[in-house]
């Protein structure tokens, strides 16, 4: 395990927080667009948030001095995260369609 530069601590905490925060923003906007509470155009913002999230993740990976291979895995994980809300929304929607008829 590499020694970290104390100067990078702030960046580490900030990027880690950003990963989760922008993750929430992505999910939030995505869901609101899907249930038609806001205009479909906003979906661009959702994916932008995901982009910022992915960037934060790469930054976090770099700042904690992960090896390049691990950083690649992190990016792959972010592609997974891109799909998670789609899947969850699909589940929520299907269950509501099945059990509610109003």
């Amino acid at each position: 395990m590499e020694y970290l530069d104390p100067e990078s601590f702030l960046g580490i905490f900030a990027s880690a927080a950003a990963v989760i925060m922008f993750g929430a923003i992505y999910v939030g906007i995505f869901t609101l667009v899907k249930i038609e509470k806001i205009k479909p155009l906003y979906i661009a913002l959702a994916y932008l948030a995901w982009g910022v999230q992915t960037y934060s993740m790469v930054m976090l990976g770099t700042l904690v001095k992960s090896d390049p291979f691990t950083v690649k895995i992190l990016v792959a994980a972010m592609v997974g995260y891109l799909l998670v809300p789609h899947f969850i929304y699909f589940l929520v929607h299907r269950t509501h369609e099945r059990f509610e008829h109003n």
């Binding site: 020694y3 589940l91 299907r94 099945r98």
Partner: protein, 221 residues
């Protein structure tokens, strides 16, 4: 059940599918945790006096480690500091504690650390409260070594004596405004606690706390 109930159209909306998934995922995780636990328990079981004599490295060395000198050194292979058990060293004037004697001391110390509630001010292995310094490597801390503030204040010439004197009257030897209270620690309990602290310093904590040895050599001029 309402009349508009329909047979499941797909697994995704099937209660049965998800309750089974929950069971399988939980079961699988639990089994994995148990397997890992079995391996870990094997690795963290306390070593024996024989291991120390034969220089067999254990993650948690035997209480007999009190008979030896403990240092914390950088390992190129591991990429962080690891405890190194060296030559024999006097502990309260002796270096020939039998395994039973050493175990009794460690036991006394660990019991005392619980009875005196150490963990609600200090951290041990980083767990506990944050009102007082971490005790993981206290035995190796520069403050307690020759030339450190604690030996000077307690008028002692070794780490074990300094710790023992301090622990029996901590409020009298305050190095900072935040003092340690008097917990009525007896000489026997103090000796046990010092053994406990020395043994804890020999545990392989994967390099925690970070930088410990590096700074001792570099900035502690």
């Amino acid at each position: 059940m309402s009349e508009d109930y329909k047979e499941p159209e797909s697994v995704w909306t099937s209660n049965r599918f998800w309750s089974r998934s929950a069971g399988w995922v939980t079961g699988f995780s639990a089994v994995l945790l148990i397997l890992l636990t079995m391996d870990t328990l094997d690795q963290i079981t306390i070593g024996s006096a024989k291991d120390l004599e034969n220089k067999v490295t254990k993650r948690v060395p035997s209480a007999s480690v009190i008979n030896y000198k403990v240092t914390y050194e950088y390992s190129d292979v591991r990429g962080h500091e690891v405890p190194v058990i060296g030559e024999k060293e006097l502990f309260f004037g002796r270096s020939d504690y039998s395994e039973a004697e050493a175990n009794a001391l460690l036991d006394k110390g660990k019991l005392t650390s619980q009875a005196k509630n150490c963990m609600n001010c200090h951290t041990l292995l980083g767990n506990g409260a944050y009102y007082a310094p971490d005790l993981t490597k206290a035995w190796l801390d520069p403050a307690w070594q020759a030339g450190g503030v604690m030996q000077g204040m307690t008028g002692t010439t070794s780490v074990d004596e300094a710790m023992s004197v301090f622990l029996q009257n901590p409020d009298k030897y305050a190095s900072h405004a935040r003092r340690m209270p008097n917990l009525g620690i007896t000489p026997e309990e103090a000796k046990g606690l010092v053994a406990f602290l020395k043994q804890m310093s020999s545990i392989d904590t994967n390099g925690f706390p970070r930088n410990f040895n590096k700074i001792q050599g570099s900035t502690q001029k």
